[in-house]
Every structure is written in structure tokens, then in C-alpha cells.
């Protein structure tokens, strides 16, 4: 029988595992009568198509569907930034052109309400609607699995981005005495270590321990925000006016005192187009502009938001590292990326207001660790314990290294050789977990905030808008419904359980909606796993008007 | 004098010596491999061309056949100026000349295409010159093979299945295929074994008598020159220094170089009293040719004039020409 229609599936070629399930997905789609042309491409091919393809189909220069891994910007799920119909490209990040009034409605509530129970209800609405129409096929939620030195205690991790980073100040290496050296492996080499330039954990792995945020998480377990550089805040009833009180007596590594001017400097720089911060668009949405905040005291910031936003607390205050005004303000905007503060190569002098000078070998922060520079041939970042940290170190680590190690085999060898104590979850060691001997590696899993999905161009005439489906042609008013049938058909054709078992080594959970599986907002009652059932899938295709 | 079969007039071949600069090459000197050589060869005669290695014998032959383009001079074959024909004549004209004048190479190992059977090698000239008479080729090939003392079934063999002498026979047969009037033989026996040499020399002699061929016989083996030639020309550093009928030359050589050459040949006779003329020094290279008479640095009888003035080749007897200021 001739295929019903043809679709082009792009599979990013940077990760073998993803390529494998991409291939599998393509095959499964073929089994329900779709002609799939899959191609393995670098992300640099996908990105321009999706950001500038104007929703056109693949053959017209846009795209049909591709595979991706995603996560939200904050630990609290923020689907409102990705799926709202107002936020389609080029202005926004709704790359898939999700355009559903019910979803929009739920997202508006999630974003703006101050009523926590209303927000929870909206989350549920969002999940239900998504589950019904499946604007994208969530394949599975990978579980993060790593192996650590069995002697390492106090290790705590998550892959929540961008605030995940190792916290060696809490680590104790047993039997290493009072001056332990710890090492952590990170897969990729970071591009820049100025916090506002990156949202990836490759970078935050490195700069994370150096800086502080206004609020931070008590632990990844509880995911509870506790005061960091801020001690407290107050909000007006409409959620727009915030006054944030800052901690006093905090010193930058240079000895300069931390004040409200630093917070203002940080936000100013992010919003200053000349710096080219990647966070600018997002922050601009929350803050509206530089006029919305001011240092209302040496230790106080007052903010007036254009509209209430959950992102303000969860993202801007809770995830964004504060940069030192005195150290960075004299660096020309275009030079900041290449500055030693960003590369950690070499040293530079920072003048403090009391006339002293400090030799910095990397970024200057308020955090528990002071950069000691980067050794390019070892690919190692070195840190020294900050003796003047405003919170006591609880572990015995005094010297800390962060090394770039590429490759799963390599990282396990390093762990076995005792060269590292822990590593980030990028290594995907799940399939190799059973090769790890407890004498040198303790396998540990933790919450992941990611999911893998196949995403569709929802402007596509067949599976996006449905106008080209038999049902849609017959009855244009049911076109959207027909497209949803096709997407559900595909969803049922994907053997999620097998993917988790076979490719992710069992470390993961079959997916349903774009909501972190372990988030409290995930409704486990409602979101039952989607069955792998080719008959069911074919029935959905038939509902869309296709005949086998 | 009757019209000569082959007439070579002031033939020269100069090879440029190139030196590479950073970007371009430039010519810094010239090797005068053949310099102003003139001689004539009558039908049925054999002219032996002798001289030490590198004196330009082969180059002369190749220049006559236009295998290298001569720098200057003229070559007349049967009264016809052939170089212009080679240069821009009709193909039929070129073939006409090629038919008259053939070449036999020194090394029979190299002069046969190793990928071709002897039959194929011999068929090639027939294919080129008489494409229309294809039916006659096989008989002609048989005849050629017999003519040089081989068997017809040898046509099926490859060169590597032959001995050196047999190969040389094939080389001769190939040259004879086009029924030439003149054969240029470039050291045809010097790479052969002693016992085979005589066979080939005999063959050449018989062919000459039977077919009325003329030979230009190039060699540095004076014994064989004496056997086969009617006339001898002696070359030294690209120049002809003496030319004479064979017995005249061997009896009364005029040039000191010729005499030295003759006396240097060891005679296979233990009793032979050899009055030898010692030549001092090595053969100078064609690149650094001495001024004046090229031979003067090695010549015992050199006069001051020899150093500065180059002697002309002049007649000193019947058919005897000599270029020496102070003949012996």
C-alpha cells in the first residue's frame, strides 16, 4: 500500500543514543503507513530551519519534525515560555507553533497567578489538554545516573539547569584528612564563564561554585528556595511590586563588599544589548526594562514588574548569579566574553574601593570557591576554598578541580583510577552501570528535569493543522482534530518502554507531557503511560481518514 | 660525386642547461652534444661512427631521425631535405621518409614492447604503412622472421622469451619491415654476448649484401667497426674529427685522438707488440668543452694554436677528412 504521506524527520547527530531512538521512531512511523525520510544532521542545520523557517514544511525550507531534548529554565516548570501562541518565532521560543486556546489559557494562569492552588489547577489543565492532543510526542524522561567515589559523602546533584553545579563545599572525602582534594568531571568544555552568557550546565558546572544567587535551593531533594545573597523579600498583593533585602557583610573574593549596586549592575548588564547576553530576551520579558528596578538602599532592591511572573522568583532571583560591579564594570561590553573573567586563562588585577588590589585568576564572585585558573592541557579548572565565605563549608575539601573528560569510558576509567570523585550526568552511564564495581564507584540516580521528544511543526498541513488530511479535507472544521489523531497514532506507535529499557539502560520513565516527571506538578493519576499499540495507532490513523 | 643517400650538413644539437631560480628556470649553458657535424653516406655503404661515450654518436642518429629536434643543420635523404617534412609535412610524406630510414637500438631488451608478441611488434609497421594490404601481412611477417634467422612460430612469443641475440634480430626485422634503404644501427652488438655478437654481425653483413642496404653503424667497438664498415667517422665531444675509408683510417689515422683510440684496443694476441699512445686525463664533459681543438688538453702533439683555434675538417686524401692542426 502506498504511504499516506511523507514526512522528514531530522535527528541531531551529536549523540549516538538519540540517533538510535530516532531511527527506531522513524521505523515505527513507517509501520503505520507514514513515509519517513530521516536524516542525521547537526543541530546547526535544524536551528536555522526552525527559527527562520516561518513554519514552512521541510521541502519548502522549514521543517516537519525532529528529535530534541528539553528542559525548562526553572526548577518550577515554566511551560508558559515555550508553548504560548503569543511566543512564536522569531520573537519567542514557541518553535513548534503550539497554538491551542485551551493551552494558552492554562499557561496564562500558570504564569501570572499569585494563587498557588489556581496555578496547580492550571498545570493540570495544561497537562490534560496536552495529553489529549499531543502537540509533541514525549518519548521518555531519562533518569540521571552517575557514579561517584564511594568515599565521597555529602554529594548531592540534580540536572536542573542552570543552577545545578557541584557543591564541593558540602563534600567530605572519607579518610582524606582535613585538606582533601576533590575532582569532578564535566563532559563538555564550557564556552564562557560569565554567568549571563550561558544557560547550559556545561558552563554552570564551572562558574556555579564561584558565584551566588539571591535565592538558592536548600537541597536538590527538597527543591525549596532559601535565602542566598538576599535575606528576604516582600511582594505587593498584585504581585508586581517587590522589595528585596540583601545580606550584609558579604565580601567578594576581592575583598570588596557586596551591595545592591552589584545586583543592579548584573541586571543592567544582562539588559544592555551591547553585552549580547543570551538571557536578555527572557529577562526583558520579566522585568520589562531597566527602569523597573532600582537600588533603594545599600542592601535593598525595589522592583516593579510590568505584570506578575512566576519567573521572577524562580528564575531571576533563584537561578541568576550575581556579578561584581567593581570587577566587571570596566571591561568593555564586547570584550567581556574573551576576558580572563570568562576564560580563566591568566590573571588580572581588580581594584577595590579601599585602594587595595586583588589578583583574580578567573571570575570574581561571592561564592564558596575562588578560581585558581584553567590549565588548558589538563583541561582542568582549579578552585581554592573561599575562607571568607559567608556560610561555613561543611566538608573537608579545600582544593577542588573541575576537569573536562569526554567519553563515558574515559570518565569511568578516571573514577576507577581515583582521579575524580563524581561527574555530571551527561555521560549517560546507564548502559554501563553494571560494569561498575562498588569498590570504586557508587551508582547514584537522581531527579531529572529533562525529557526527550519528537516535536512537530504544528503548521504542517497534515499533522500540524490537519487541512491536508482526508478528514480535514472532507470537513475543514475537524482538520485540527484529524491532525491530533495522527500525532496520537504516532505516539502509540512508539515503544517507549523498550526505548527506556534498551537504550537508556533502564534509567528512565516513559513520557507523556512536557512536564518533569518528578515535579510536584506532574499529575501521576491523570498521566497514565501511553501504550505501545500499533493497532490502536492504526485506528487513530483511520480516524483521521486514512484507509489501510 | 653521385648524389648521396644520406647527407648530413652542419647538424647540431644543443641541450640547454637549466638552473632553477626561485620562481623561474634560466638557461646557464648549453651542452653541445652534436656540433656542426657533416657527412655523406652513399647507397650500399656502411659508415662507422666511433667515439668515446658521450661524444654525441647517439644524439647524431636521433637528430637525423628527428627523435630529437636538431638545433640547426640539414639532413638530406635521397636528395630531399627531411627535417622540414618531419616538422610540418603531411603524414603521408613523413611516412614516406620513415620508410626509407630506420633505426636499430642498442639494447634489445628495451627496444621491444614487452606487452606485445613479436608478431604484433612486426605487424605494427605493416599496419601503419600498408593498412590496405592486410591480407599480405602474415606472409610478410613470416618472411621477415626468416630473413633475420628466426622461425615463423616465433611470432607468437613475447620478447622476454627470447635471448638477447634473438631480440636484436627482431629489432632488425622490425626495421626491415618497411623496406628501408638506410639502417641506423646504434651499437647493435655492444650489449650482446661475445658468442652472439658474431651472429648478429654476420646477419647484418648478409642483409646488406642481399638487400643493398646502407648502414650508419655506431659503435665504440672498433673491431666490429672494422668488420662491418666501409668508411669510418670519428667523433670527439660532439665534433667529427676524422673521416676516412676504413682501411685508410686503420692504417694511417691522421688525428691523434684516432690513433690513441686505435692503440687502446687490446688485441687478442699475447704476442702483439703494442705501441700504445697514452692518453692523459679523462674525457672532458660536453658541458665544459675546452676552447680551440676540443682534444688539445689530452693531446701529446698539441701546439699553441690548438688551444685557441678550432681546426676545420678538411680533405687530406681520397675520402679522408681530418680536423687537426698538427696531423700525425
Amino acid at each position: 500500500a502506498p504511504p499516506f504521506f511523507k514526512l522528514y524527520l531530522m535527528i541531531p547527530n551529536n549523540q549516538p543514543a538519540r540517533m538510535i531512538w530516532g531511527n527506531l521512531a522513524a521505523q515505527q512511523m513507517q509501520r503505520i503507513g507514514i513515509d519517513v525520510v530521516s536524516s542525521l544532521v547537526p543541530f546547526t542545520v535544524i536551528a536555522p530551519r526552525r527559527s527562520r523557517g516561518e513554519g514552512k514544511t521541510h521541502v519548502d525550507g522549514g521543517w516537519d519534525c525532529y528529535l530534541e531534548r528539553y528542559y525548562y529554565n526553572a526548577i518550577k516548570p515554566t511551560p508558559n515560555t515555550l508553548y504560548h501562541s503569543r511566543l512564536m518565532p522569531p520573537g519567542g521560543e514557541n518553535y513548534y507553533y503550539v497554538n491551542d486556546p485551551e493551552i494558552d489559557k492554562a499557561l496564562d494562569v500558570i504564569s501570572n497567578t499569585l494563587d498557588e492552588s489556581a496555578r496547580q489547577a492550571a498545570y493540570r489543565d495544561f497537562e490534560r489538554r496536552w495529553y489529549d492532543i499531543q502537540p509533541m510526542t514525549i518519548l521518555f524522561y531519562p533518569q540521571d545516573v552517575i557514579a561517584v567515589n564511594p568515599k565521597l559523602k555529602g554529594f548531592d546533584a540534580t540536572t536542573f539547569n542552570p543552577v545545578f553545579f557541584p557543591q564541593p563545599e558540602k563534600w567530605t572525602i572519607e579518610g582524606a584528612g582535613r585538606n582533601a582534594t576533590a575532582a569532578f568531571a564535566s563532559w563538555a568544555q564550557p564556552a564562557t564563564l560569565i554567568p549571563m552568557y550561558s544557560t547550559g550546565y556545561t558552563e554552570s558546572n564551572v562558574f556555579g561554585p564561584v558565584y551566588n544567587r539571591l535565592y538558592e535551593y536548600e537541597s536538590w531533594e527538597t527543591k525549596k528556595l532559601v535565602p542566598g545573597l538576599a535575606t528576604d523579600h516582600s511582594v505587593s498583593s498584585d504581585g508586581k511590586n517587590w522589595v528585596i533585602t540583601l545580606r550584609q557583610g558579604v565580601k567578594w573574593h576581592s575583598g570588596e563588599e557586596f551591595t545592591a549596586a552589584d545586583v543592579k549592575f548584573t541586571w543592567d548588564t544582562i539588559l544592555n544589548a551591547a553585552y549580547g547576553s543570551q538571557l536578555r530576551a527572557g529577562v526583558m520579558q520579566v522585568l520589562g526594562g531597566t527602569e523597573s528596578y532600582r537600588a533603594s538602599g545599600k542592601y535593598e532592591i525595589s522592583v516593579t514588574l510590568p505584570q506578575p511572573s512566576m519567573l521572577f522568583l524562580d528564575w531571576l532571583l533563584g537561578a541568576m548569579a550575581i556579578m561584581p560591579e567593581h570587577a566587571y564594570k570596566d571591561i568593555r561590553p564586547e570584550a567581556l566574553r574573551g576576558h580572563i573573567a570568562s576564560t580563566w586563562l591568566g590573571s588580572y588585577t581588580v581594584k577595590t574601593s579601599d585602594g587595595k588590589s586583588f589578583t583574580a585568576r578567573g571570575g570574581v564572585g561571592t561564592g564558596p570557591w575562588i578560581p585558581q585558573g584553567y590549565d588548558p592541557s589538563r583541561k582542568a579548572y582549579k578552585y581554592a576554598r573561599n575562607p571568607n565565605y559567608w556560610k561555613p563549608h561543611t566538608g573537608n575539601v579545600t582544593t577542588y578541580y573541575l576537569v573536562n573528560i569526554q567519553g563515558t569510558d574515559s570518565v569511568l576509567s578516571a573514577l576507577k583510577a581515583g582521579e575524580i570523585d563524581a561527574h555530571d550526568p551527561m555521560y549517560d552511564i546507564g548502559p554501563l552501570a553494571n560494569t561498575i564495581d562498588p569498590s570504586w564507584g557508587k551508582v547514584q540516580t537522581f531527579d531529572s528535569f529533562k525529557w526527550q521528544h519528537i516535536c512537530y511543526n504544528l503548521k504542517h498541513p497534515v499533522f500540524g493543522t490537519g487541512v491536508e488530511t482526508p478528514l480535514g479535507k472532507q470537513d475543514p472544521s475537524r482538520a485540527a482534530e484529524a491532525a491530533a489523531f495522527i500525532r496520537k497514532a504516532i505516539s502509540h506507535a512508539i515503544p517507549r518502554e523498550q526505548i527506556v529499557k534498551e537504550i537508556a539502560g533502564g534509567y528512565g520513565v516513559p513520557g507523556t507531557v512536557p512536564m518533569p516527571y518528578t515535579a510536584p506538578e506532574y499529575d501521576h493519576e491523570m498521566l497514565k503511560p501511553i501504550a505501545y499499540d500499533l493497532d490502536l495507532a492504526r485506528q487513530y490513523m483511520e480516524k483521521a481518514g486514512y484507509k489501510y | 660525386m653521385s648524389a648521396a643517400l644520406l647527407e648530413v650538413e652542419n647538424l647540431s644539437k644543443h641541450y640547454p642547461v637549466l638552473r632553477r631560480g626561485i620562481l623561474l628556470q634560466r638557461q646557464t649553458a648549453a651542452i653541445r652534444a652534436v656540433d656542426d657535424v657533416s657527412f655523406r653516406l652513399q647507397a650500399g655503404e656502411t659508415l662507422g661512427l666511433v667515439g668515446e661515450s658521450g661524444c654525441g654518436k647517439t644524439t647524431t642518429a636521433r637528430a637525423i631521425l628527428n627523435l630529437v629536434t636538431p638545433s640547426s643543420g640539414a639532413v638530406r635523404f635521397e636528395g630531399r631535405d627531411i627535417l622540414p617534412v618531419f616538422r610540418k609535412g603531411e603524414r603521408s610524406e613523413v611516412l614516406g621518409i620513415r620508410r626509407g630510414l630506420q633505426y636499430v637500438f642498442q639494447d634489445p631488451y628495451l627496444s621491444l614492447n614487452p606487452r606485445w608478441t613479436i608478431g604484433e611488434t612486426l605487424r605494427e609497421p605493416l599496419r601503419i604503412h600498408w593498412p590496405e594490404r592486410e591480407a599480405e601481412w602474415p606472409t610478410r611477417i613470416d618472411a621477415l622472421l626468416r630473413m633475420v634467422g628466426l622461425e615463423p612460430q616465433h611470432a607468437w612469443r613475447y620478447p622476454h622469451e627470447f635471448s638477447g641475440g634473438q631480440r636484436q634480430r627482431v629489432g632488425i626485422a622490425r626495421a626491415l619491415a618497411v623496406e628501408p634503404r638506410l639502417l641506423i644501427l646504434d651499437e647493435p652488438v655492444s650489449s650482446l654476448d661475445i658468442s652472439v655478437r658474431a651472429q648478429i654481425l654476420n646477419l647484418l653483413a648478409e642483409l646488406q649484401d642481399g638487400l643493398g642496404l646502407a648502414y650508419l653503424y655506431i659503435s665504440h667497438d672498433l673491431s666490429s667497426v672494422r668488420f662491418i664498415s666501409t668508411h669510418v667517422a670519428v667523433m670527439y665531444l660532439g665534433k667529427l674529427v676524422e673521416m676516412a675509408p676504413v682501411d685508410a683510417l686503420f692504417a694511417a689515422a691522421g688525428h691523434h685522438y684516432t690513433r690513441a683510440l686505435l692503440s687502446a684496443i687490446p688485441v687478442p694476441d699475447p704476442g702483439a707488440a703494442q705501441s700504445r699512445i697514452h692518453l692523459q686525463g679523462e674525457v672532458p664533459s660536453a658541458l665544459r668543452r675546452p676552447t680551440g681543438c676540443p682534444f688539445h688538453p689530452r693531446c701529446a702533439a698539441a701546439l699553441p694554436v690548438c688551444r685557441s683555434e678550432e681546426p676545420a675538417l678538411i680533405d687530406i686524401g681520397p675520402g679522408h677528412r681530418l680536423a687537426c692542426h698538427n696531423p700525425a
Binding site: N14, P42, F43, T44, A47, P48, S51, R52, P90, E93, T181, A183, Q189, A191, T192, T199, A273, A274, Y275, G276, S277, Q278, L279, R280, A281, G282, P333, E334, R337, G338, S342, T343, L345, P376, S377, R378, K379, A380, Y401, V403, I405, Q406, G407, D409, S410, S413, A414, K416, A417, G418, E419, I420 | R19, R20, G21, I22, L23
Partner: protein, 322 residues
């Protein structure tokens, strides 16, 4: 004189070569559009303004030819630009990574040369013997074994099963071998150098043996033996030096080959060298890095060829370069 002339000509040619390579590569990179735009498009929240400002910073806002000449001008001042991804001066990166690459490549070649000399002397002096057969067969097998696959197997055996050798990287972070940086560094070099050496020993042995067999047949070797020189001196002094001459050219090529396939070697051993850097640069389209690296590798290749040519002259008095 001839030599200087030759070197000058050679350098001129190399310059032309480098220019050619750079133009082609530059054109290719630019044919895909503004690299910054492609790069940044991958990241969420990037606006046109940001692309503008970043492009400007990396000097990517002129026409292609302008950009090329700017790049070239900077190159002449040994300024390779700044890596887009790593924000570091490309020149510095090439230097550190280049040293790491040479650190395994040069010992790899030298070790291979030493082993090949030993093996081929052993084989060639016993031509037709069982040892000879063994050496040839071994070399043939080694020559055909895909180097990277062999490397993987080495890691599996020596690092994973036996646990004797480190399998990745050039240094340990902690727990240095014998607490010595030097020992630790050498320790890490064992596997990659071993792999490179093994692979090249095989090829070199094949070449050197046949060259040596040829030389040993030469008259001057018989003459040296006939003069009563001891066999050792004949083989090592007279034959080997002559036999090395035809292999020399290959050494240059070999070095080039090793540099060229460094991406594979360094991927297998996670070695922090030019090859690994190149893969990253290519994957991330870090165009100043791609350009700089290609230039450097080509320069190294040209340099190696030049060096072998000069070595030729040093060894073989017959050769006059000019």
C-alpha cells in the same frame, strides 16, 4: 646557495599553498552563511541584535573578501583571532594543544623508526629466513590493522581489563603516578604513543626492509664486505644509511598522515591535542579555530616535508637541491 634557493622556492610554494587552502576553506565556511548566526541560532532567546553585536565583535560584519583580508592581515601578525566557542585566543589554544599533539606524535614516529630499523635489519640480513617471513607478515598485518580500532582494543586490554595504564587524557588530575608530574605525563603517553608507534612501525618496517634488501644487494655492500669490514659495521654503517634515504620521504608523509588522522587518535584516547580540538571546532563551527587549525596543520606538514628534504641532503651527498 642551491640549498637556500631551494628553501626559498619551497617557502614560496608553501605560502601559495597556505593561501590556497585558506581561501578555499574560508569560502566554504562562508558559503554556509554567517557562522555566528548559525551558531547562536541554536541557543534559545537569541535575537537579531545579539547576533549583530556578536558578529561585530568577531569581525564578521563586513563582506566576505573584507573579512578574508582582515583575517589574513591578522594572521600575518600571528593573530589567529578569538575562538567563538571558547573565547580564547586561537593562537594560544593552538600552541597548547599543538604541544600535546606533538608530544605523542614525535615519540610515536621516533619509536617507530627505532623499532622499524631493528626489525628490518633483523629481517633483511636474514632474507628468506623464517625471521624475515615473520617480520614481513607481522608488518603486513600491522599495516592493515585500522589504527583506531587497535587503539580501542589496547584500551580494553591494558586499561580496562588489566588496569595498568590510563586510557584517556594527558594528565591525571590527582593521584599522580609517583607524585611526579613527569612520570604521570609519561604514563599517560604510553598507550597513544604505543598505538602510533605500532602502526607506523609496521609500515616503516615494510618500506625499510625492502629498501634494505635492495641496498644489501648493491655492489658497494659486497665491496665493503670484501674489504673485511665486520658485518655489523657493513649493515649499520653502510647499508642502513643508504636504505633510509628512500624511506625519508615517507617519514615526512607519515608525519603528515599522523597529524591528519590526529582527530581519530585523539578521540580514541581523549587526548587534549589538535585533533580533538579540530573535531570540536568542526562540530561547533568555530570558524577562527577551524581556519587557524587547518593553517597550523598545513604549516606543520609543509615544515615536515621541508625538513625531510633537508635531511635528504644531509644524508645523501648526491642530492643537490636547486
Amino acid at each position: 646557495m642551491g640549498m637556500l634557493n631551494y628553501i626559498a622556492r619551497r617557502l614560496l610554494f608553501s605560502l601559495a599553498l597556505l593561501l590556497g587552502v585558506s581561501v578555499i576553506l574560508f569560502a566554504l565556511i562562508n558559503a554556509i552563511g554567517n557562522p555566528i548566526e548559525i551558531l547562536l541560532a541554536e541557543r534559545p532567546g537569541v535575537t537579531e541584535e545579539i547576533i549583530q553585536s556578536v558578529s561585530q565583535y568577531y569581525g564578521l560584519d563586513g563582506s566576505v573578501t573584507d573579512r578574508y583580508f582582515t583575517w589574513l592581515g591578522n594572521l600575518l601578525r600571528l593573530d589567529f583571532g578569538t575562538s567563538i566557542i571558547y573565547n580564547q585566543p586561537v593562537g594560544d589554544m593552538l600552541w597548547t594543544f599543538g604541544l600535546e599533539t606533538l608530544k605523542i606524535q614525535i615519540p610515536g614516529i621516533l619509536l617507530a623508526l627505532a623499532l622499524a630499523v631493528g626489525a628490518s635489519v633483523l629481517a633483511a640480513t636474514r632474507q628468506y629466513s623464517r625471521i624475515d617471513f615473520g617480520v614481513i607478515s607481522g608488518a603486513m598485518l600491522g599495516h592493515s590493522l585500522p589504527g583506531f580500532f587497535f587503539g580501542i582494543i589496547l584500551i580494553l586490554i591494558f586499561s580496562y581489563w588489566l588496569g595498568w595504564l590510563p586510557s584517556y587524557g594527558a594528565y591525571s588530575t590527582r593521584n599522580l603516578l609517583w607524585d611526579s608530574e613527569l612520570a604521570d605525563g609519561l604514563w599517560h603517553m604510553v598507550l597513544p604513543v604505543g598505538m602510533l608507534a605500532f602502526f607506523n612501525t609496521a609500515t616503516l618496517t615494510l618500506l625499510l626492509r625492502s629498501s634494505l634488501v635492495d641496498v644489501l644487494r648493491q655492489d658497494y655492500i659486497t665491496a665493503a664486505r670484501a674489504s673485511g669490514l665486520p658485518e655489523r659495521r657493513v649493515v649499520m654503517g653502510h647499508a642502513l644509511r643508504n636504505a633510509v634515504i628512500p624511506v625519508l620521504t615517507y617519514l615526512g608523509i607519515l608525519f603528515g598522515l599522523m597529524l591528519g588522522t590526529a582527530p581519530v587518535t585523539e578521540t580514541v584516547f581523549t587526548w587534549p591535542g589538535l585533533g580533538a580540538l579540530y573535531i570540536m571546532a568542526i562540530q561547533q563551527l568555530d570558524y577562527p579555530l577551524i581556519m587557524g587549525e587547518t593553517m597550523i596543520i598545513t604549516v606543520m606538514l609543509v615544515g615536515a616535508t621541508l625538513l625531510t628534504d633537508i635531511a635528504y641532503v644531509a644524508i645523501d651527498p648526491r642530492i643537490r637541491l636547486g
